[in-house]
Point group: C2
Chain length 441, copies 2
């Protein structure tokens, strides 16, 4: 039986501090749950000077990561430095030295996951990565274990709290994107460089991981169509509201007849749907399984303590294995590594959804008919048209159209032609509309 | 290494059929996930004649449960007959004969859980009971594992799909309770005898199990104040809507300074809160943890396939243990059985919430002032009064009041006095209002 589980933590930033806090202050609780004492043996960071606001035994601090690899008593290596390198090298090194690994690093797993999972599988160690997707929401465990009796056909997610916070502010306060972003930055919901969050890159990392697990297929970042929220305007949000929709940065993964559809883009979803009610910095994961039907998990997808909660849950999970003398009870990808198949991806051009178009055109006769004509040539059928808000003095007007289901490929072709017309004053805004009921059935 | 995991199923009704369907049709998928073949070796039921609508190998059918206990190759005994006896005897017998047990029987666990958990702990076998709470929603696993790094302070749940379906119909269609119940029965959402569902008994079984796990304390049915939905009227629901509330049969578990507050009653919750958006037969579990913050899990809380999904998830969980040669990796109650403490329960009289009262009184002068006077004597402070809908011919009028926070004990005393007044024509309706933000903080 395991006497003590020794944990070493690399990266003493926001999440590292949250993790250390839980490990230090929750010692008794964790021992009871893990079945053995859980000892934070090392905290490694280049910066050991900054005050993290809570007491840390000074002898566990080090700036030399080699001490962790070379400590024969260290059981779990927690990687919280983020990014691809040196995180990849450190994680592989920890695996080679026989340590179990826990990480929150979605970029690393979405990019080098298979290399890491394979190395861990060979070395007989565990990789815990609950914190890499959905912060404190136990969504990885739900897919790997709780829903193990299901073929999962759909994963829908609001996977980035920053983007959802900005969209919620734009909706509630009518703020332009840049103002909502600035407010989010001021409140600490967005980073100084917000590109990854607002352009969907962070969401793509998470969808790659989640879809790999849910569908049991090898899915990489290049398989995912990714479009961010920075072009959205309050006008689009208010048109959406009139149509009964909310706009969310939705991650969509769908498996049908062995073909996988993977995309992230601003999406109009009906206000009747529970996902539309996920507000502020919250995240949600909505699964459809053949036995369970629809299941949603909701919570904080980021932040010091929620992410720390997921990291420590992985530590307890591994401890419970070690106490009972078993490892790799649940393979990293839920099924044996070699069973994970290559994915067949539906090209974005072949996706069929409804569309919202906002054209910015000169206020002159014949424009609407010319646009409708071009759409008609591509067999894009218009469901409704709204034209309003024309200023008396303005020479530019927005025309909004909602289509029936159409092929993305044809839509792109039509919009290229429309945007080349002399009466078009700005690039046409397109927002895809998901009829979620149809998606889930 | 485990060669084959043999499963025997007792109870071939609705959930038994769903479970058998998944085990038979999902063989390949389950073998891949469990790490060994999962073989449905026995189906035991008194009724082997009724056609369940799918093919079952005839040699696995038996009406003699002893064959399961006496089969030395049987690994897992799935109990799906429901009720207290003979389910209790059979489960204990299975444990004594060294079988792991999976059950969906919430009544059994809420009543005899400790006897069963103790027997299983002694015998070194597992008890899987994910299906006993929340149907297919992996909420038990979430509490025992996914949220293992948290002290959980609050569990809120919509734990009964029948009651929630009826409340949703009453809200959407303005139906009286009896009509909504009949519709639910016609559609198969309510049983012929709906007492357990509509009077909160089923919810109490689930809250007892969930609160025991979440708070690590011994909680029994008698610790839970339980009130059903059968006295609600469309008038209450429409008043609630005007006030910005939905009425839900809410299960509330709260732990504060070691004292636990446990109750189930029709509850007004703000339409801003995600729980208010849980509609129809869906269930939801809303937790507050000290690290993770707020987490919600949502899905179908009952039904053949969702419940089967949870049963088979438990089977896969146990299989994964046995393949690695370990059992009782996670204790049934998440912590060692002997660490589960007795609960200190807050008496219902000491609960403080806001109240909605609907008085049914004679339409005569002085009534309102008399009611207000009695409430004032008990220090119940009125936040607002609504009196309307008075028919010209009617001698009876409803008066609706919303209070500030008040003591339940004083409220009961005041209402006893009010309801004894000659001008009161019907027992006063009371609905508790939960300010969820306050509850969760």
């Amino acid at each position: 039986m395991k006497q003590t589980l020794n944990v070493g933590l690399l990266g003493f930033g926001t999440v590292g501090s949250g993790t250390a806090k839980i490990l230090l202050s929750g010692k008794d609780m964790l021992e009871e749950r893990a079945g053995c004492p859980v000892n934070l043996k090392w905290i490694c960071d280049k910066d050991l000077e900054t005050d993290r606001g809570f007491a840390v035994p000074p002898d566990i601090l080090t700036d030399d990561v080699e001490r962790l690899f070379q400590d024969p008593d260290l059981d779990i290596f927690i990687e919280l430095i983020g990014g691809l390198e040196p995180a990849r090298t450190f994680v592989l090194k920890a695996i080679e030295s026989g340590k179990h690994v826990v990480t929150a690093n979605k970029a690393l797993l979405a990019t080098h996951g298979f290399e890491i999972f394979e190395a861990a599988s060979r070395a007989g160690v565990e990789i815990g990565f609950e914190a890499s997707v959905g912060g404190g929401i136990p969504c990885i465990k739900a897919v790997k274990e709780g829903l193990a009796a299901n073929n999962i056909s759909t994963v829908l997610g609001i996977m980035n709290g920053t983007a959802n916070y900005i969209l919620t502010s734009m909706t509630d306060q009518g703020l332009p994107f840049q103002d909502a972003l600035k407010e989010a930055q001021r409140l600490g919901y967005a980073e100084a460089d917000p590109t990854y969050d607002i352009e969907g890159v962070d969401t793509a990392h998470k969808l790659a991981i989640m879809a790999t697990l849910a569908f049991g297929q090898r899915i990489g970042l290049s398989d995912i169509y990714t479009e961010g929220i920075s072009r959205l305007t309050p006008v689009d949000i208010s048109f959406a509201a009139e149509l009964g929709y909310s706009i969310k940065l939705l991650a969509i993964g769908r498996q049908e007849n062995g073909i996988v559809d993977l995309r992230i883009h601003p999406t109009m979803i009906s206000n009747d749907h529970l996902l539309s009610q996920v507000r502020g910095a919250y995240n949600a994961f909505y699964f459809t399984g053949d036995s369970v039907g629809k299941v949603m998990l909701y919570g904080m997808g980021a932040g010091q303590m929620p992410t720390g909660s997921a990291i420590v849950a992985d530590v307890v999970d591994i401890a419970r294995n070690l106490v009972k003398g078993c490892t790799q009870r649940v393979p990293a990808l839920s099924i044996p590594f070699e069973h994970v198949a290559s994915a067949r991806i539906r090209p974005m051009e072949e996706v069929r959804v409804k569309y919202y178009f906002r054209f910015t055109v000169k206020d002159q006769p014949g424009v609407l008919s010319r646009i409708a004509g071009i759409l008609g040539e591509e067999q894009i059928s218009i469901a409704s048209v709204v034209q309003k808000g024309r200023g008396r003095e303005s020479s530019s007007v927005p025309i909004v159209m909602v289509t029936h289901e159409a092929d993305e490929g044809r839509v792109r072709k039509a919009l290229e032609e429309i945007d080349a017309q002399e009466f078009v004053l700005d690039r046409t805004m397109i927002i895809r509309i998901e009829d979620l009921k149809a998606l889930e059935d």
